[in-house]
């Protein structure tokens, strides 16, 4: 073996170090696939909901969470079947459960549970997303548009939860779930404060008279929103490219 000079020895050390680093990096990388996705809520306007806590628990060993915004439902501007457009910048592992805690104004009830999601179905849909051309562009702040899918979480009346996966001219109902109301003893969160359970619903930012009238008139009293479709595909149109 010929003698190497110092520079070449340094180069060899660098080379070996990078090779080892590459091996470690591939070995340690969370083996699961990552995707771009967003999630938002929808609720019927005749059943005002307030989401107190909402997050996905993602796959993998770590307790990783993806928080889900619920501004549209909480402000009462949501209509059934229409989510809010959210943005994301990071690829995430797919969700395996939904942590959800909310209050229903019309039913004067609280619901809270951790809902297991059909991970196999979700995996398959995401894995075939590009191939089947169902991915949609997801808005990012200040970056290029990303390709992914959208979770729409419907909070229907009577504690029914419906979750759809939506894409380009694509929609699939992946879960319907029934929650039983809970009887909380601790103060409950609304907007920016905690309120006692007894008077909680008095603090709702809502047109009380109008809402009472609507309830009195029996509007949607027998509705079961969990069975109601979203009309997402019919209304879908590809975004205009500039």
């Amino acid at each position: 073996m010929r003698k190497l000079n110092i520079l070449n020895k340094i180069y060899i050390v660098i080379l070996v170090a990078i090779i080892i680093a590459t091996v470690i990096k591939t070995h340690h990388y969370d083996a699961g696939d990552r995707y771009y996705y967003t999630a938002s809520f929808t609720a019927p306007p005749t059943y005002r909901m307030y989401v107190q806590q909402s997050q996905f628990i993602t796959e993998g060993d770590g307790q990783n969470h993806v928080f889900i915004k619920s501004d549209n439902v909480n402000s009462g501007s949501s209509t059934w079947g229409n989510g809010d457009s959210e943005d994301t910048e990071e690829q995430e592992r797919l969700p395996k459960a939904l942590v959800l805690r909310y209050a229903s104004y019309r039913e004067k009830a609280f619901y809270a549970d951790t809902i297991p999601l059909p991970t196999k179905v979700i995996d398959e849909i995401f894995a075939g997303g590009i191939e089947k051309n169902i991915n949609v562009g997801i808005y990012t702040s200040g970056g290029p548009e990303l390709s992914g899918l959208i979770f729409l979480i419907g909070i229907a009346n009577n504690g029914n939860i419906v979750i759809w996966l939506q894409g380009r001219k694509y929609e699939r109902k992946i879960l319907t779930y029934h929650l039983k109301p809970i009887k909380p003893t601790q103060d409950q969160f609304y907007e920016s404060q905690f309120y006692p359970v007894k008077t909680y619903f008095d603090y709702f930012n809502i047109d009380t008279a109008g809402y009472k009238k609507m309830v009195k008139n029996g509007i949607d009293a027998h509705a079961n929103y969990a069975d109601s479709a979203t009309h997402y595909i019919e209304n879908y149109s590809d975004p205009v490219k500039f």
């Binding site: 010929r2 190497l4 000079n5 110092i6 520079l7 070449n8 340094i10 180069y11 060899i12 660098i14 080379l15 990078i18 090779i19 680093a21 590459t22 990096k25 591939t26 990388y29 990552r34 910048e89 990071e90 690829q91 702040s141 200040g142 970056g143 290029p144 990303l146």
Partner: protein
């Protein structure tokens, strides 16, 4: 076996190692999933890495035959600076357009 071959010059070995390190670095950067932002960062880092490696080469072999290496080094350094500036501009624009 080595007697029949013409022994490699040290600086040739260095060049081969530079190429090797460069290729392995690219593999390191792309072996796991890279999102868009990091893809930009990777391409920005390519020239600075090359210039550091080339600088070692140029300062070690100060012979007259190494003029080409010096010119290449100069070009790569300029490209590094330009790359970093462009990257900074893109990131800056991203920050400016983001709606917090």
């Amino acid at each position: 076996m080595e007697d029949t071959e013409k022994p490699l010059e040290q600086h040739v070995i260095s060049l081969l190692l530079i190429v090797g390190i460069f290729i392995v670095t690219l593999i390191f950067m792309t072996c796991t999933y890279v999102d868009n932002n990091h893809e930009w960062l990777n391409w920005t880092l390519v020239f600075p890495i090359l210039s550091v490696l080339m600088a070692g080469y140029v300062f070690t072999y100060r012979g007259k035959e190494q003029l080409a290496a010096r010119i290449i080094l100069a070009v790569i350094i300029v490209l590094s600076i330009v790359g970093v500036l462009i990257y900074g501009a893109i990131q800056g624009m991203g920050a400016a357009f983001s709606h917090g």
